[in-house]
Symmetry: C2
Subunit: 469 residues, 2 copies
Amino acid sequence: MPDINKIFSEKLIVINMGLESFNTDLKTQDVQSMQVNWRPPSEASKKLSLLEGDSVSEKIDVANKEAIARLLAAEPIIVGIGTAGTHIPGMTKNTILHAGPPIAWEQMSEPLKGAIVGGLIYEGLVLNEEEGRILASSGEIIFDSCHHHCTVGPMAGVVTSSMPVWILKNKTFGNFAYCTLNEGLGKVLRFGAFSPEVIDRLNWMENILAPVLKEALEIKGSIDLKSIIAQSLQMGDEGHNRNKAGTSLLFRELAPSIVKTKYSKDEKAEVLTFIDKNDHFFLNVSMPACKCSLDPLSDIPNSTVVYAMSRNGTNFGIRVAGTGDEWFTAPCALVKGLYFPGFEEKDANPDIGDSCITETAGIGGFAMATAPAIVQFVGGTPKDAINYTTSMYEITCTENNSFKIPNINFRGTPTGIDIRKVIEIGILPVINTGIACNRAGIGQVGAGIVRPPMKCFEDALTSFLTKII
Amino acid sequence: MPDINKIFSEKLIVINMGLESFNTDLKTQDVQSMQVNWRPPSEASKKLSLLEGDSVSEKIDVANKEAIARLLAAEPIIVGIGTAGTHIPGMTKNTILHAGPPIAWEQMSEPLKGAIVGGLIYEGLVLNEEEGRILASSGEIIFDSCHHHCTVGPMAGVVTSSMPVWILKNKTFGNFAYCTLNEGLGKVLRFGAFSPEVIDRLNWMENILAPVLKEALEIKGSIDLKSIIAQSLQMGDEGHNRNKAGTSLLFRELAPSIVKTKYSKDEKAEVLTFIDKNDHFFLNVSMPACKCSLDPLSDIPNSTVVYAMSRNGTNFGIRVAGTGDEWFTAPCALVKGLYFPGFEEKDANPDIGDSCITETAGIGGFAMATAPAIVQFVGGTPKDAINYTTSMYEITCTENNSFKIPNINFRGTPTGIDIRKVIEIGILPVINTGIACNRAGIGQVGAGIVRPPMKCFEDALTSFLTKII
């Protein structure tokens, strides 16, 4: 019997490289096997060698150092409450901003379309879904990416001109960022719902919530968000899908000044109760805090640091410091996670929202080690949460000097995604996120973990190669 | 050369049993050595064999099962704000309650004496320290342990008749517990300070803070503390020396009702600001929450579960379910920890306060794994914090079914100290605590880790042996 045939009669112990499904098959047959985490080098990773010459690699190092210095120097503060149409640069009465890279109405996913219908009803431009879809597709509405207007929005990220917005400023660089106020969970516009309860809540937010907060902030002055985020990361938040501590600390900052406003006791109590009942209230300030911290990185030639990641429910897009305003897009993935009762994977829209600006800044999924309780919401185990964070050190430039994770010996959060490392090592940024229903009008159906498509990083590298100066 | 002499010329690798200083000496000389965690059996541990007979051990198991059932069934709620003299059973105009087991004025430590002087000044019974010391030693003042009056107090734990108190109730068993309101850090009565700023603050607490909270609680109704403690343990609190999340969640519960009280905007804002500026505000509700959860264990014959641990700055005392009201005391240890700038170990008073009622209930030091950030306050590393918790499983009866620790896979906190296990295994309960200055009038000088004296557990066992029925 030739030696090779012996293996069919012996107990096999297998090491598998390449296609992981071979390993899975062996495991189901109780064969002892392990998977080697190796992939053949991609076309893109071969291009990395073009960046390896001393002079190029030194240029990139200098540029990335500058990018990281700007990011770590950021000091995001809340300066007030405004109105989208008045305060957001470039907004008009018939402009609607949305999450993710730019996209035409026809290509939009259903939760984004649902949120736009809701926005048009809220603005009084249409009465119902049918009219909304007609107006939206008529060409009379200008759609644009939030990111093009110093703005970010969770999930659908729809911003219309009457909506109240947080006004944030990066004190170090003087740039601003804007975000709507968080509506809470369940049937809400950002998940594509537009029923009367959604519109009524938006009206209450415009007429009571925002004016009370506006006056409270005028009384209080600015609020330091770098400090609140740093504290909340020591209190089990990661700043994206767990914002219970951030919400609590913001509530504590605001309440004494809310008391001092001119509004009635009942109105003030309503506002405080609304915030208290919504542990995600802080998300809509942590997001623009990250946005205004990252925007100063948008024009650093030769830098391979990512300064925006975002998705519109159809496409995922990233922007890189060394390639300026250009978006590198590819179809969004589906989110792997936990579903609310009554929903399952077939109800899920692909990944959507600007909220992964938090991961771009090094919190959110990148800081999950500090928020083990979040696995009850997005799935997995506390050990997974730690592994997500530690693996992100592989693809980032530095550790944050303000945002510390007690669980891993107070290491700083992994900060500054480098497209070179993503491509070379083959690890994609980890994002934890809500899941919207793939039908308009329904809302949130779950939460989980997702990664951007590798193509975004590969295309960014291709463009970057042409832009080195 | 006889074989034994060879070892002097060879590289030594040493295993040491017994006195640890031998091991330390070897380490300083760069000899590879390890310490075996073994001690010769104590006299007390030999007595444990008397509990090993089938019938006795079965009786104890049944009794401890009942003790644990009562503890886990507890539902502590805040029901209102009262006045010590009116609400605490057995209080009179000239009674002063203090932390720890009963003690006479002459034996009291200086921070406790300082707090009593402050209490007498606050009550208007004396004008200064000298008069205070004379009155306190005159025999006209009745001193008693807080624990004898359903009350607990952090550090000195001094309660005088005019002081406002939290009123808590264990909904399941109908019993009550009381605690003063937390004054904040720095120069405060509970750390033995009595300067005019201390007395002014106590007066403000009586005249503004307490009435506002009282009316707010009348508007709101009761507050569920089991839920708040469970949430705060998922937000980096351990409920003894880290209460930032608990304070935040309590603040969120109270603020909307504070707004609705009849007080002026300025008074309400003052109250909210006072709470916001004091991350330990929740300690004075987490302590009576634990007290009223544990008191129903005070009369369970044959149970070896500890239902109170406490210290008056001179003696540490414990009480055991199967031995009723009896205190088992021994001199307090010094706390190992971190000192505030300008202070060092020679300024430290031995261990003081009722606050280790939290550890008795299975939180505080027992839950440090969930609060790694606390090591910045009490010393050590995040790994130490996890080790403290995991070692407490060795000496407790069960894992709490409501208080979960995400960091160690959502295990319940180690709950129900069994004196048999403490003696047999030789591991003492771990307590994290503030450190008071050993001179009256100064205040807090640091925070750290301490353990009760083993003698308390040994004496408890001796008494328990005579009380088995």
